[in-house]
Point group: C2
């Protein structure tokens, strides 16, 4: 199977698992489960869970056992999107061509859905089957890595610096900090968790780490370029929202051509 087919196959597996693992929309109180499902099934590419599975596969891990961890990564990603879109944050009405969670369900439900998605991610991780393949110690390490990666020294840190920098011209060091943390930290830990749960030794994890850092940068630069060049139809969100919000991006700092070259190099 080629790369694209493998990616698509894993995406489909993740979608089936999410469908099974998330509370049904009819479970009381219904509205929160509707908001959660609406946001999770809004057409994400499942890049993070696929990376978790890919890393685990490379190290001969049991993908069925590890699947709840992969799904946990997607829930965390979704929670950050739902909160990022809020009026007090990026104030985005559309995501992937659909009304954002707070437009559809109200701001209060969007706050609560994001909060619930975070705890649900940790809950999924704790439900991974302990036994011959995965020890309780390995699982605890995976949970710790996730908690650290999404905290103030990871995703939230990047988001905070992005937010307070919004109206200012920022230097390249700050821009790199934002992307390495806001986006890179979750991409990185997706790979690490796959490796940890596939019982990887320290050396393996370090090697995968370098790989995932580059991947995170490529991902972010491409996203920035698309924000400038793509039309709303392609993006599924209003284009130029970074410019509107005065955000420092790779194209605004380096120009589109140079940013394109950087992505290719990474």
């Amino acid at each position: 199977m080629d790369f694209i087919s493998e990616f698509k196959e894993k995406t489909a597996r993740v979608n089936r698992a999410l469908e099974m693992l998330l509370p049904k929309a009819e479970v009381y109180p219904e509205v929160i489960h509707q908001a959660i499902r609406y946001s999770v099934f809004a057409g994400g590419k499942r890049i993070r869970p696929v990376l978790t599975l890919a890393a685990a596969e490379l190290l001969k891990g049991d993908l069925d056992l590890i699947m709840p961890a992969a799904c946990a990564l997607e829930l965390i990603h979704t929670y950050t999107l739902v909160h990022d879109d809020l009026p007090a944050m990026d104030n985005d009405d559309l995501r992937r061509g659909m009304p954002t969670c707070h437009i559809k369900f109200g701001e209060d439900m969007a706050i609560l859905a994001g909060d619930a998605l975070q705890s649900m991610a940790f809950e999924l991780l704790t439900k991974i089957e302990i036994g011959e393949n995965i020890s309780a110690e390995q699982l605890l390490l995976a949970i710790r890595e996730l908690a650290q990666a999404i905290g103030t020294k990871g995703v939230i840190g990047g988001q905070v610096v992005d937010t307070i920098s919004a109206a200012n011209i920022i230097d390249k060091k700050t821009l790199e900090y934002i992307h390495q943390n806001k986006t890179g930290a979750l991409i990185g830990v997706a790979v690490r968790i796959g490796a940890i749960l596939a019982c990887a030794g320290r050396e393996n994890i370090e090697r995968l780490d370098g790989y995932s850092k580059h991947l995170g940068m490529v991902f972010q630069i491409t996203d920035d370029i698309l924000d400038v060049t793509a039309s709303e139809k392609v993006l599924g969100k209003p284009s130029g929202s970074d410019i509107r919000n005065n955000k420092g991006t790779f194209p605004s700092l380096y120009g589109i051509d140079e940013a394109g070259k950087m992505a290719a190099e990474e």
Copy 2:
């Protein structure tokens, strides 16, 4: 030592531990750590962590080892308060006589501080020392119980029903659901986590559970009564905010006298 002195002594221990475990206010990006510390040290009574310690003590657990779990409970509690106070939720400007987090640091930082407090709580739990006294399996169980208790079948569930019921007259069953979940679930799991980490058998946990459920109800009824009767000075927040928000409370459903009797009975 009498009950009050023991409570005060444990509160002081929790405060010292929180001081040590939370990132310093000077750590980059500073504003989020300032917002987190501001909210955590806004004068909470530390009821939940004290309950964790008290349950552990009863079962001869090692309180020093268990302390990060107790602190995790307080971080979760603080995160729910910070998000509850947001304009899109209860829209409260004051808490315990001080400006709420979003008034002091802005709505965006309050959303992010709440998010970070949640992941920090899980991070603290994963850092508990594994060894003779606490096994990795016990710790995983504690993390799972916490994640479940604060999810859509616990704290968030109660918060959701509270929010969607705000403008309506609600029945007693709904009111009980709200309080058992919004407040009771975290009180209950505080006790359970203390018992689990002190190596309690199933029977001990069940017994403590009954105790903690009654305690949760007493706590909530008293809080509701205070909201109606106390002045802003005593409460540290505008009194009558439940009435302003049309919230179903024990006094509004049963009258103040009857609610008082109910608390005493519990």
